[in-house]
Amino acid sequence: MESLDTFTLLPISMDPTTKAITSDTPNSALNNELAHLNALHKNLLAAGTPTGTPPPPVPVNPTRSAQISKLRESGNNEFRKGNHGQAVKLYSLAIDMALGRPSWEPSGLVREEVSGLLSNRAQANMAQQNWAEGAVDAEASVEVKKAGNAKGWWRRGKCLLEMGRLDEADEWVKQGLEFEATEQDLVQLKQEIEKRKGI
């Protein structure tokens, strides 16, 4: 970085109609950054706060949260009725919506919502015996939220077991037990895996 009172003038220009910033040079880092900038600019305009700045992280705009929980509820209902395919669709919609939150909103909230929804989608996939999708969803769920996500750990372990990937399943469940040592389901799953490996 240069000192405080100097900077490098970059060859960038603004499209007067679309207000998009572009650069003619084939500098990929710069172009990448400009793409981010333009996306953020659109989001800021869409937020429409009076000062044109992002609102402080709390309080959160409640409409999106309400929509997400509504989608999750209807997904849960479909799941209970046994329409697992429909449930997966609804959960996917809710996940897209949760990931589409403006990026200045609290990340903790996004983690919470997305991990729950992914875990539910894993469950719905497992009910249809789509073990591969279930495993991926549960993995993503755990990646977003590691602690306090015993169901996510269990679901991926179960999916891997069902696919016959015993070593991976064993590894995964051991890792899960480091976070959730007291979870009864995980302990049982571990025993099950060890039994299968023993055969």
């Binding site: 900077f7 490098t8 953020l40 402080p56 996004v110 497992m126 993995e139 993503a140 977003v144």
Partner: protein, 239 residues
């Protein structure tokens, strides 16, 4: 009157000249030395790569024809704050380790100087961003870094989730292939059993039955209706 004539001016000049030369040489030495160390510090490689976001912001700010609207400048400032957050985190994480290494003599003084320079720069940079933010909207300076930090975290979450979900296709293809492989193997086994003992059908039946049972377990264990309802119940109770 004090007798000025009695003073030997020439002899007095000697100590004065001595003092003058002494002070002059010390001054010259110190100024040259300081200039050299400053030049050396300036020639050290910077800790971070060029700050693209800052350069973009300032380039936009100095754009005259047409003038850049405020909304874009605000977005650019936010991007700049986000990059600053990553930098200050990097500095904070590196500081302790670097101090220990320096005490042990594992790293050179140059590295420490580079680090200190980066630290000072980032402090100035943060202050500058806060001032700029306050100039755009009152009190934005207090929340801009909060927003920037959330933006950073959110970006990371999104990146990881899309990365993992992107593997779903490959995983599914693998599993479909594996499934059909298991099925064909199983069918082949079944046929072989039949070919081998067409007469002792009752024995073969029991054998294939047991094989089928174990293979079935690999394929669809837990897929039975009982298991399904069990899971359904669990979900209902927990969600």
């Amino acid at each position: 009157m004090w007798p000025f004539d009695a003073i030997d001016w020439l002899m007095l000049l000697v100590p004065i000249a001595y003092l003058f030369i002494l002070v002059g040489s010390l001054y010259t030495f110190s100024s040259i030395y300081r200039k050299r160390t400053a030049a050396k510090a300036a020639s050290l490689e910077p800790w971070f790569p060029p700050h693209i976001q800052r350069n973009i912001y300032l380039s936009l700010l100095h754009q005259e024809d047409p003038k850049c609207p405020d909304s874009i400048l605000k977005a650019a400032l936010l991007r700049r704050a986000t990059e600053d957050i990553t930098r200050i985190m990097a500095i904070r994480n590196a500081k302790q380790a670097l101090q220990v290494l320096l005490q042990r003599g594992s790293v050179g003084d140059d590295l420490w100087q580079r680090f200190q320079r980066a630290e000072k720069e980032i402090e100035d940079e943060l202050r500058d961003v806060v001032t700029e933010a306050n100039a755009f909207a009152p009190n934005w300076g207090q929340t801009i870094f909060q927003s920037a930090s959330e933006m950073l975290q959110n970006d990371q979450i999104r990146e990881r989730v899309t990365d993992i979900l992107g593997t779903a296709q490959a995983e599914k293809a693998w599993w479909d292939q594996r499934k059909s492989q298991i099925q064909t193997e199983f069918m082949k086994e079944l046929d072989e059993e039949k070919m081998k003992s067409p007469t002792a059908s009752s024995v073969a039946g029991s054998v294939t039955g047991s094989v089928a049972g174990s293979e079935d377990a690999v394929l669809v264990e837990g897929g039975g209706p009982a298991e399904k309802t069990g899971k359904g119940k669990k979900k209902k109770s927990k969600n």
